[in-house]
Every structure is written in C-alpha cells, then in structure tokens.
C-alpha cells in the first residue's frame, strides 16, 4: 500500500515525546529528593513521608483496578490487611525476618486476590463493586475474632529491625521508598508487557480481547492478582513503616480513602502522581488530627471537585478554546 494515501488519512501525529520526557524528569527529581529526606528533614516528616510512600503503594493497587479493568474496588483494605498482618504476625509470633514476611504477605495477597476474583470472574461492574464492598466490610470482624493471633483491638507492634544499628526511622523510610520504587518500576514494565496490552484492549473491547486469547475471566483473575499482590506488598511495607498494625487502620473506609488518593492522582501509575495521592491521604489526617470528621468532609469534597474538574470543567474549556480557535481561523 502506498505511503502517500495513508499519511493523508492519518493526519498530523501528536507530539507525545515532550510531555513524556517532562514527567520522567519530574519522577527522577522526586526520587532523588526523597533519597535525602531522612538526612535533612525532622524525624516527624521522615515518618510522614514513609507512611505516604507506603500508602502510595495502596493507592497504586486501587489505580491498577480502575486503569486496567475499568472497575472500582472498595475492598482493598482486605488485601492490605493481609500483607500487614502477615508481616506483623510472622515477626511477633515466629520471629521471622522482615524480607520473608514481605514475600509471604505479597504472595498471600495475590492468592487472596485470586480467591476473590475466581467467584467474581464473570460479574459485571455493579455486582463486582458490591462484592468488593462486602470484602472490605468483613475485615474488622475477621481480625477481631482470632484475638490470640491478631492482638485484637490493640493489634501488634512491628519492630524496624531489618539492619542492626540503623535508627528505626531511617530503616522505615528507606524500606518504604524502596518498596514504592519496586512497585512503580514493575508497573511501568507491566504497561508494555503482553498482559498490559491485553488488559487495555479488554477494557475497551472485551469481545475483541476474547477473540484474540484474553477472555474476561482471565482479565479479572489477572487484574485482581496484580492489584491484591501490590496491596499485600503495600500492607507489608505499611506495617513496617508505621511500626504497628491494628484493625482500625484497615476498615472499609480506608479503602475509600485509597480511592480518594487514586482519584486525586487521576488513577495514574506514574511515580510522582501516585506519590502525591499517597501524600494527600496521609498528610491531611495528620494535619487535622483534632478535627477527624473534617477529614472525611474534605476528602469527599476533594473527590467531587477533582472528578468535576476533569470530567466536566476541562472538557468544556477545551471545547470552548477549540471553538474560539475555529472562529479566529475563519475571521
């Protein structure tokens, strides 16, 4: 086929390169900046940033479901609790070192994700969301039942004892940063892998994906294994970074907070965006610790504003600008 006819139909190719390079620069700058935090910032901020990084992993686990499956999960607290309690229980009860705990927590998260996805592999949107709601709501009652193992309401303390002699705060921060980096890099690779391609096709044309070898059931299993694995990993890191696990940190509402974090970073899996999402949901409760109820109102409001901004306001503005350009072009 001749190139000439096609370049005519194809139109101008958008200049995608510049924006991409800019965000990559931002990502690298952010990582470098974070690397020096424990040496320049007060320990309180080091702690907050460590928590933000751990929460950012949780945010990523929500974003993965939305971006790759187009579904909402409000049961991520389940998988995060799995990872967090795996680390805490293994360390406190059996003296297992942290890296083994993380590996186990991640794997267990994955398995739980598959166990959840299997019965829901054929469910469509609303049915799946309600199933995740039920999943999220059943966490506290499970944690509060086996008190001997889970420590009941008080939970379990997690000691930052990865490297002997290094202050706990510094260990916690670098573990969180390292964990975040691993997830972000893995997700960047995943996007261009054969599964990333398959999922993004399935999201728009499920039947086409099926006809080329990726049925809906596989999509579900894969997305939830991935998301729950990330959530389990994030939970393990969170347990280490916050030095404690308790049922209060893993209620259904914490899933909703993660969703808020995911919305404010526009479901992005890019490092700087995800970090911002994690920071947002970590910082606000700290700053407003005396006005707990305000946090929910602000979160709800922010979620609304961001959704409005990007679904209603910006498209309107773009259309207006295009109309104006068209008019100028003619006049």
């Amino acid at each position: 086929m001749s190139e000439s006819t096609l370049s005519r139909t194809a139109g101008p190719t958008p200049n995608a390169g510049l924006g991409d390079r800019l965000t990559r620069l931002l990502d690298v700058a952010l990582l470098l900046l974070l690397l020096v935090v424990p040496w320049v910032a007060p320990s309180f901020w080091t702690y907050i940033l460590a928590l933000s990084l751990a929460n950012a992993i949780g945010v990523l686990s929500v974003s993965v479901v939305i971006r790759y499956a187009g579904e909402v999960s409000i049961g991520q607290n389940f998988f995060i609790a799995v990872g967090a309690y795996a680390v805490a229980i293994l360390q406190a009860r059996l003296g297992v070192p942290f890296p083994v705990g993380v590996a186990f927590g991640t794997l267990l998260g994955c398995v739980m994700g598959l166990a959840f996805a299997w019965p829901s592999r054929k469910l469509s949107g609303v049915y799946l969301s309600v199933a995740t709601l039920a999943l999220g709501l059943c966490v506290p009652e499970l944690l509060l039942h086996w008190t001997d193992i889970t420590g009941g309401f008080e939970g379990i303390n997690v000691k930052p004892n990865l490297v002997a002699g290094v202050p706990g705060g510094i260990q916690q921060f670098y573990v969180a940063l390292g964990g975040f980096a691993i997830v972000v890099i893995a997700l960047a690779r995943f996007r261009h892998s054969r599964y990333g391609i398959a999922l993004l096709t399935a999201r728009h044309h499920a039947k086409a994906a099926e006809a080329f070898g990726m049925p809906l059931a596989s999509v579900r299993l894969l997305v939830f294994a991935l998301s729950a694995g990330i959530a389990g990993f994030g939970g393990s890191i969170l347990a280490f970074a916050s030095s404690t696990v308790s049922p209060n940190s893993f209620t259904f509402w914490s899933s909703v907070y993660l969703l808020v974090g995911s919305v404010v970073c526009l479901y992005s899996t890019k490092p700087s965006a995800a970090f911002f999402g994690g920071l947002f949901i970590t910082l606000l409760p700290q700053l407003l610790s005396d006005y707990g109820e305000l946090v929910e109102i602000i979160y709800g409001f922010t979620l609304f504003v961001v959704i409005y901004l990007f679904n209603i306001v910006l498209p309107h503005l773009q259309a207006a600008i295009r109309r104006k350009q068209a008019r100028n072009g003619h006049g």
């Binding site: 086929m1 995608a16 054969r194 398959a198 990726m214």
Partner: protein, 260 residues
C-alpha cells in the same frame, strides 16, 4: 505440496442461531477451504457478522458443527480458537485508543506469545527479546498495510479509516490459519480500497483460509474466488463471482433491498 497437506480448512455444518424468537442463522452449511479467498455477502442484517461470531466462538450456535481441518470446535472457547489460528477483524473497529498503533497490532500475537507474568513485571532478559520480537513483527505487519510510520502514535489519535487497516494488521500479524475479515473496506476511500485489494492478494497464500464480508461489490468481485450469499440467515447462492452475478435470486435480493 498437495492439497491434502493443507487440510480441509474451516467447515460449518447446519449452523442454527436464534436470539429469542429471531432466527438469525438457519441451517447454514459452508466450507472455507485454504488457498481460496471466499466472499460472504448479503444485505444488512442477513447474519454475516453473527456467522463470524459463531465461527470465532463469541456466539454459541443453537445447533450445528464447526470444524477446523477436521478438528471439531464444539465447546472450544473463543480464546482457544485464537490459539488454533482463527483470527478476525471487527466490523466496528475494536482497538484500544490508549495503546499505540504498534501495541494494538502486537495484541494479535497475544495467543502465541509465551512470556509469563514474571516477564511482565520484572526486568528479565527473556522478556526483552520477546518484546523486541513482537514489536518487530508488528511493524512488519504494519508495513504491509503501509502504516509503519504510525507505529508509535496512540490509536486514539488516528483517523477511523486508518484504524481499519490497523485492525487488518492485528488480525494477520500472527500468521493465522484462518482470517475472517468483516467489512475491511468500510470507511476507506477508493484509492485506499485499491491498496487494500493489493494487500489482501499479497497475504493470500495456499495455506490461508480467507473469508471476506463486504458490501463493496467491486472489491468482492475482484478478489474472491468463491462467493456465498446469505439472506435472512439462509444461504441462497454460492459459486464463482460470475455465477453469483448471473444468479437471478441474488439480483432479486439486492434489488429488493435497494427498493426499500
């Protein structure tokens, strides 16, 4: 090589399909041998797309048998059929606007690629070579339809007519055994259609089963060796382009449709 080595191709026997009270396919029996470009024509709503959906396993016929080279496909899922080499394009472009054009084409290799989940997440050397290779094949397929220069453009920013050709590239990139094309020329202008004819002739081979559904009669008459005519889910005629053109029944169906 003789014909026997190429097998029997894709054979459908007495396919019946109904949605509620609507009989969409009524006892359709056709065979699509390899090395032959078969046309499947019929007025709107005749059941052509539905028939493709039965062949690819997206619809389950109420009765009838489909086999590929003698292997029965009953109970074989759409995804497994893809692995057996059945590939297709869609009447309504079914590409992902988020992916680049080359990535969309790479998805055509999904069923044959071996790299697993570890490769998807970890920087393993085996994954690099798999990715390189699949991208290379995708760009090759894109050059066949003359679109290699668009490889890295997001599909969302490409003109709809061009996307049909990307669909074609995706369908043939995996060197399928069976290629089902649902209205490949819809939305193309006349010079693009001419190019398409050339491309289709180029990819036709002695091993390939190719079926083309199309409303553009010039294209059908040009490239098809055999044409089947479907009307209201019933096969009303089959034969060479000349035979079909001369068939009064076919003329009636098409003139009747034109009268409405």
């Amino acid at each position: 090589m003789d014909m026997a080595n190429h097998g029997a191709g894709l054979v459908a026997k007495e396919i019946k399909l109904a949605f509620g009270g609507l009989q969409v396919l009524n006892n359709v029996s056709v065979s699509f041998p390899p090395g032959v470009i078969t046309g499947l024509i019929g007025p709107n709503g005749a059941g052509k797309t539905s028939f493709f959906n039965c062949l690819t396993g997206l619809y389950r016929p109420n009765s009838g048998d489909i086999s590929l080279d003698g292997r029965a496909l009953k109970g074989v899922s759409a995804s497994r059929r893809a692995r057996l080499g059945i590939s297709r394009t869609f009447q309504h472009v079914a590409l992902s606007p988020e992916l680049s054009v080359a990535e969309n084409v790479q998805f055509g290799l999904h069923a044959s690629r071996k790299s697993g989940l570890a490769d998807a997440l970890l920087p393993l050397p085996s994954a690099w070579s798999d990715r390189e290779e699949s991208r290379h094949k995708a760009i090759e397929a894109l050059s066949l339809v003359g679109l290699s220069h668009l490889a890295d453009v997001p599909a969302g920013g490409v003109a709809p007519g061009t996307l049909r050709l990307v669909e074609l590239a995706r369908a043939m990139v995996g060197r399928p055994r069976v290629l089902l094309l649902d209205e490949p020329a819809a939305g193309l202008n006349s010079s693009e259609t001419k190019d398409l004819v050339q491309t289709l002739r180029q990819i036709a081979s002695r091993e390939l089963v190719m079926v083309v559904v199309e409303h553009d009669m010039d294209l059908i008459m040009q490239i098809c060796d055999v044409i089947n005519v479907l009307n209201f889910g019933t096969l009303i005629a089959a034969g060479t382009p000349a035979e079909v053109q001369a068939n009064p029944l076919v003329a009636e169906v098409y003139l009747g449709a034109a009268d409405d």
